[in-house]
C-alpha cells in the first residue's frame, strides 16, 4: 500500500506546501506527521518547542484531508501546521508564559487568534518557548531552558518569541504565532532569518494573550516569508468582542509602497557596520526596482528605549500582580498573607521579571510618577507624532531590526542595560502603535542573519506585507537555511 512518501523541500513556505497538498503529492496528514518529527527532534534540540500535540494534530490533519477530498476547505490555511507561543492560551496543553509561576497552567480556552486559525482548518501542533512572560530579548529567561539559534547554536535566537523564530528559521511548511511588546517578534525573526510582522496595535485581538505591556502588546505571525504572514494576518485580524481595544475598522488599502525613507538614527554609532551596510544595500536594491528612497531623521528615537522601559515595566507591574499565589499561579505556603505573597512571587518569578516588576512599581509610585511615568507618556506622544509626521512624507520607514548580530548565549544576560539595547530600534513601532515588518536582508561575515524592518502608518499592515512579498521576489535571503539543517 505505502508508496514512498514525498515532501516539499524543507525551506518551502506554507503556500508551497499547500501547492503540494492540493496537487496530491502529499497529504496534510503526511505533512503534519513529518513536521511533528522535526519538532520532536530538532525542535527539542534547539529548545524551541515545549509541548507537541501529536494525537490532536494528526486527527485534525486527517479531517482536513477529508475536507479537501470533499471540496469543503475551511480556509486558505486548512491543513497547515502552526505553533503558538507559550503566552497565548490554548484549550489543549498548557499556557505558562515560560514561567515557573504558571507551570502546568491549563487555560481551558483558545485565544481568539487560535480559535480563528483552528476555525480556518489550520492544525495546532505545539507550543513554543519564549522569554518568561515575554520579557527578554534572548530567550534565556524561559523556565524551559535556553533556546539556541539554529544558525549557530552557541548563540541566542533573539527574544522573546525565540522558539517560534528558531523553528521558522530552520524549517518551512508551518507558521508560528508570536507576540511583540518591544520587538519580540522582529528581533528573533531577524536573528533567525525569518519573516515576522508586528501588526498595528488593535488590529489583532489580544484576548488570550498573557499580558505584559497591554498598550504595546500585539500578536503577530512569524513565518518563512511575507506572503505566508499575510495569509495568517488575513485569518487572525479584525474586531473581537472579547477585546474592546481591537479595531473595528481595518485599513484594507493595498496601495503599493513607492516611497521609503531610511531613518538616520538607525545607522548611527552603536550599530554594527555589517548591519548598516546590509540594510543600506537593501535600500539600493529597492531603488534599482524603482522605489524612491530618501533619508529622514527621527531624533525622538534616542528617547524611545527609555520611554519604552518606563511604560512597559509600569504596565507589567500591574499585569503581573494577579500572580499572587492566591488565585492563579504557584503558591508557597506561609503563616501570614504578606509572607505568602512575598514567598510565592519570589519563588515563581525569575530575576528579569522581578527586576521589571520592581522597576514598574517604582516609576508609578508617589513622588516618582511625575518624573518617570508621566514624562514617558509625554515622550510617547512626541514619538507617535514624529513617526506619524515622517510617514506623511513616505510610505514606509526603513531601519535595521537589531543593532548587532546574534551574540553568544550568556553574554548579556547579567547586564540588563546591554540586554535592553537589543530593543533600541524596535520599540518605536510599539510606542507609536504602527505596524512593522522584519525581513531577512543578508548575512554577516560569520554567516549570521541580518534583518531589516519596515514601519508603516497605522493600518498599513497589508501594504507592508505586499511590499515584503515584492522584496522577497527580488532577493533570496529568506530562502536560506542554516547549514546542517538540510533534510
Amino acid at each position: 500500500m505505502s508508496s514512498p512518501q514525498q515532501f516539499p523541500p524543507r525551506e518551502a513556505t506554507v503556500q508551497e506546501a499547500l501547492q503540494w497538498i492540493s496537487e496530491g503529492r502529499c497529504s496534510s496528514h503526511d505533512l503534519v506527521s513529518r513536521y511533528l518529527d522535526f519538532l520532536e527532534t530538532e525542535g527539542k534540540e534547539l529548545g524551541a518547542i515545549v509541548e507537541t500535540f501529536e494525537a490532536e494534530a494528526l486527527a485534525a490533519a486527517k479531517l482536513s484531508d477529508k475536507r479537501r477530498e470533499q471540496g469543503e476547505l475551511l480556509g486558505p490555511l486548512d491543513g497547515i501546521p502552526f505553533t503558538a507561543k507559550m503566552n497565548i492560551t490554548t484549550a489543549v496543553g498548557t499556557t505558562d508564559a515560560s514561567s515557573a509561576m504558571l507551570v502546568g497552567f491549563e487555560a481551558g480556552e483558545d485565544a481568539t487568534v487560535v480559535r480563528r486559525l483552528l476555525g480556518g482548518g489550520a492544525v495546532l501542533v505545539g507550543k513554543t518557548s519564549c522569554d518568561e512572560f515575554a520579557m527578554g530579548a534572548t530567550n534565556e529567561t524561559s523556565c524551559h531552558g535556553v533556546v539556541a539559534n539554529p544558525w549557530d547554536r552557541s548563540r541566542v535566537p533573539g527574544g522573546s518569541s525565540g522558539g517560534a523564530a528558531a523553528l521558522a528559521g530552520s524549517h518551512g511548511w508551518a507558521f508560528h504565532l508570536g507576540s511583540d511588546t518591544g520587538g519580540s517578534i522582529r528581533l528573533p525573526a531577524a536573528f533567525c532569518s525569518a519573516t515576522g510582522l508586528k501588526p498595528t496595535w488593535g488590529r489583532v485581538s489580544r484576548s488570550g494573550l498573557i499580558a505584559f505591556g497591554s498598550s504595546l502588546d500585539q500578536i503577530g505571525p512569524i513565518a518563512r516569508d511575507a506572503s505566508d504572514c499575510a495569509l495568517v494576518l488575513d485569518c487572525i485580524e479584525g474586531a473581537d468582542p472579547l477585546d474592546s481595544t481591537s479595531l473595528h475598522q481595518l485599513d484594507e488599502s493595498r496601495d503599493p509602497i513607492e516611497k521609503v525613507a531610511l531613518v538616520s538614527e538607525g545607522f548611527g554609532s552603536g550599530i554594527d557596520d555589517s548591519i548598516r551596510e546590509a540594510v543600506r544595500a537593501a535600500a539600493q536594491e529597492m531603488e534599482q526596482h524603482g522605489v524612491e528612497v530618501t533619508e529622514v531623521s527621527l531624533p525622538q528615537l534616542h528617547a524611545a528605549n527609555a520611554c519604552y522601559q518606563v511604560i512597559a515595566t509600569a504596565e507589567a507591574s500591574s499585569n503581573l500582580a494577579r500572580y499572587d499565589g492566591i488565585h492563579v499561579g504557584s503558591r508557597v505556603a506561609a503563616d501570614d498573607l504578606q509572607l505568602l505573597y512575598e514567598k510565592s512571587r519570589r519563588a515563581g518569578f525569575g530575576v528579569e521579571v522581578r527586576r521589571r516588576i520592581l522597576l514598574g512599581t517604582f516609576v508609578l509610585s508617589a513622588g516618582y510618577r511625575d518624573s518617570y511615568y508621566s514624562r514617558a507618556q509625554a515622550v510617547r506622544d512626541l514619538i507617535r507624532e514624529g513617526v506619524d509626521h515622517a510617514l506623511e512624507q513616505v510610505d514606509a520607514l526603513l531601519l535595521p531590526v537589531s543593532p548587532f548580530a546574534p551574540f553568544p548565549i550568556g553574554e548579556r544576560i547579567d547586564d540588563p542595560i546591554a540586554l535592553y539595547a537589543c530593543d533600541i530600534l524596535t520599540v518605536t513601532a510599539n510606542l507609536a502603535g504602527v505596524p512593522a515588518l522584519a525581513l531577512p536582508c543578508g548575512f554577516d561575515e560569520a554567516g549570521l542573519p541580518i534583518g531589516m524592518q519596515l514601519m508603516g502608518a497605522r493600518g498599513s499592515d497589508h501594504r507592508l506585507l505586499q511590499f515584503g512579498q515584492q522584496w522577497q521576489q527580488w532577493t533570496a535571503h529568506h530562502r536560506e537555511l542554516p547549514v546542517g539543517g538540510a533534510s
Binding site: 497565548i88 492560551t89 499556557t95 508564559a97 504558571l102 497552567f105 487555560a107 480556552e109 485565544a111 489580544r206 484576548s207 488570550g208 494573550l209 498573557i210 499580558a211 505591556g213 497591554s214 498598550s215 468582542p241 472579547l242 477585546d243 474592546s244 481595544t245 509600569a314 504596565e315 507591574s317 500591574s318 503581573l320 500582580a321 494577579r322 499572587d324 492566591i326 488565585h327 492563579v328 498573607l337 505573597y341 512599581t361 508609578l364 509610585s365 508617589a366 510618577r369 511615568y373
Partner: protein
C-alpha cells in the same frame, strides 16, 4: 465656643444592571460562593475586560438626576493594591478623568429647610470580592461580587450634623432607587458610605483637619459616627491637642471611633490609565436618550399626590418611598379606587404585607386590580373591612387569587332573620357572658360578637350584627 461639624461623603452604590461591569456574569447575590464568576472577573491570564454599556447608561441616569456635568470623554484607570479578594491585583476605576463632575444632593436640614450638598464627582468602578474570616483563623474568598458595577459619589465638605449627614444619604438612596440606578440596600452592602469629619470653631473659619470613617452600612451608624467623632475632635482641640489626618474605624456596639491607619500609612495605589479599555465617549444624544427615559422624579409625584389628589403629606411619603410604590398606587387608582381608599389600603395592607414578608413591591404577588375588587366589595358593604383584610391575607398565604376567595366566601349577610338566628344561638350558649353584660360589664361584648361572626362563618354584616346583639341583650 460653638463648634461647627463639617462632613464630606463618599458613597458607593452598586448599579442595578443585569450583568457585571466588565463581563457577562449576572450581577446577583445569594448564590453559592464562587458560582457567579468567569475568567474576566477573576482575572485569569489572557482575559480582558469589556465595558458593560448598560452600566454606563445607568451611570448617566444617576448623573442626570444629581445635576452633574457629564464629561464627553472619560477613561478608566487602574488602582493597584494587593488583597486576596482582588484577583487581578488592581481595581478598574476612574481616577484621572471621571465621567461626571459637579452636581448636588438635595436634602432636608434638621429644621426642615431644604438644602443642597454639592458633589465633587461621580465615577464608575468595579467592586472587589469578599473575604470571609472564620473564627478558626481561616479565611475564605468569595469572588461572586467581583466586578459588580459601582458608582462612587464624592461630595464636597459641608457644615452639617450627624442627622443631616444621614439625611443626605437617605435622600440620595431614594433618588437612586427611584430612577432604578441602584437597589440601595445597605444591609446587602450595595450602598456603602465613607464619611469625612472635621470641626472648626465657627462656620467662617478654615476647614479643620479631617478624619475618614470607612464602610458605614446603616443610617444610624452614619449619624452616630459623625456625632461621636466630631465630639472626640472637639474634646481634643479644646484640650489644646491637634487632629491627625487618619482613617478611623467606627465601632457600632461601643459607639467609639478607633484609629485604623494614618495618612502616611495609606497605600500608594499607583493609578495609571487602563490600557485594556478604550476612552468612554458620551455624546449629548446619549444623555438626551437617558433623560427622556427617566421616570417623573419624586418632587413632581409629591405635587400630584398632595396638591392634585389631596392626600395628606404624611400619607404621601410612604407612597413616595419608592417609584414602584407610586406605580402600584397609581394602578389602584386606575382600577377605580378613590385616592383616600387607595391610600388607606396601600399603606394599611400592602405595605404591612411587604414588611411582614420582607419583600419589595416588585416581588409582591397580588395585583392592584385584584386588591381593588376586594376593596370595592368592602365599600359596597358586601363584605366587612375585616373580611376584606382576611381575604387579602389568605390570598397571600395560599398564593391564590383574592377574587376566587371572595366569591367562595360569599357575601356579607344583612338579612335580619338570619342574623337573629345566629345571635339567638350564641346568647343561649353563653348565659354567663350575657349576665355579666347585664350587670354593667361590657367586656364580654367583643367575645360574643366574635362568636356571632364565627357562627355565620364570617358572613354576618358586623355593624348590623353588633346593633342587633346589643338590642337583643337589652331586651332579653
Amino acid at each position: 465656643m460653638s463648634w461647627q461639624t463639617v462632613v464630606g461623603l463618599e458613597i458607593h452604590a452598586q448599579m442595578a444592571t443585569r450583568s457585571k461591569m466588565f463581563c457577562s456574569c449576572r450581577r446577583e447575590t445569594g448564590l453559592d460562593p464562587n458560582h457567579n464568576i468567569c475568567p474576566v472577573c477573576t482575572g485569569w491570564p489572557g482575559a480582558l475586560p469589556v465595558i458593560n454599556e448598560a452600566a454606563v447608561r445607568c451611570a448617566i441616569r444617576a448623573a442626570i438626576c444629581l445635576d452633574c456635568t457629564i464629561q464627553r470623554e472619560s477613561r478608566f484607570d487602574r488602582k493597584n493594591y494587593f488583597y486576596p479578594d482582588l484577583p487581578k491585583g488592581y481595581q478598574i476605576s476612574q481616577f484621572y478623568r471621571p465621567y461626571a463632575l459637579g452636581g448636588a444632593i438635595s436634602f432636608e436640614r434638621e429644621d426642615a429647610t431644604a438644602d443642597r450638598l454639592p458633589l465633587v464627582r461621580i465615577h464608575m468602578e468595579e467592586d472587589a470580592g469578599k473575604s470571609i474570616h472564620a473564627s478558626d483563623g481561616t479565611s475564605r474568598i468569595d469572588l461572586n461580587r467581583c466586578s459588580s458595577p459601582l458608582l462612587e459619589i464624592v461630595t464636597e465638605p459641608l457644615g452639617m450634623s450627624g442627622i443631616e449627614a444621614a439625611s443626605c444619604v437617605r435622600s440620595l438612596r431614594h433618588l437612586l432607587r427611584w430612577v432604578g440606578v441602584s437597589d440601595g440596600d445597605m444591609e446587602k452592602g450595595n450602598l456603602r458610605c465613607d464619611v469625612n469629619v472635621s470641626v472648626r470653631p465657627d462656620a467662617s473659619a478654615e476647614l479643620g483637619t479631617r478624619t475618614e470613617l470607612k464602610n458605614l452600612n446603616s443610617f444610624v451608624s452614619i449619624q452616630r459616627s459623625v456625632e461621636v467623632e466630631s465630639k472626640r475632635q472637639i474634646e481634643v482641640l479644646e484640650k489644646g491637642g491637634t487632629i491627625r489626618q487618619e482613617t478611623r474605624l467606627w465601632d457600632q456596639d461601643l459607639e467609639v471611633t478607633e484609629e485604623m491607619r494614618s495618612k502616611e500609612d495609606s497605600p500608594d495605589y499607583r493609578y495609571f490609565p487602563e490600557p485594556d479599555l478604550p476612552v468612554i465617549v458620551i455624546e449629548q444624544q446619549d444623555i438626551d436618550r437617558e433623560r427622556q427615559s427617566l421616570p417623573e422624579l419624586p418632587a413632581e409625584r409629591y405635587r400630584e399626590l398632595v396638591d392634585d389628589l389631596g392626600l395628606d403629606p404624611k400619607e404621601a411619603l410612604p407612597i413616595l418611598a419608592r417609584r414602584e410604590n407610586c406605580e402600584f398606587f397609581a394602578a389602584l387608582l386606575e382600577a377605580g379606587l378613590s385616592a383616600t381608599s387607595a391610600s388607606n389600603w396601600f399603606r394599611g395592607e400592602v405595605l404591612r404585607h411587604l414588611n411582614d414578608r420582607s419583600e419589595r413591591i416588585d416581588q409582591y404577588p397580588l395585583a392592584a386590580e385584584a386588591i381593588a375588587v376586594v376593596v370595592k366589595a368592602v365599600e359596597e358593604d358586601r363584605i366587612s373591612v375585616g373580611k376584606g383584610r382576611e381575604i387579602l391575607q389568605q390570598a397571600l398565604d395560599e398564593q391564590r387569587d383574592p377574587n376566587e376567595i371572595l366569591s367562595e366566601s360569599g357575601e356579607q349577610i344583612s338579612d335580619e332573620s338570619a342574623l337573629v338566628g345566629w345571635i339567638t344561638t350564641v346568647l343561649s350558649e353563653n348565659p354567663e357572658a350575657v349576665n355579666k353584660i347585664k350587670s354593667g360589664d361590657s367586656k364580654p361584648m367583643g367575645f360574643l360578637m366574635g362568636q356571632v361572626m364565627k357562627a355565620s362563618s364570617g358572613q354576618a354584616h358586623p355593624r348590623l350584627a353588633q346593633d342587633l346583639l346589643q338590642k337583643m341583650i337589652e331586651q332579653d
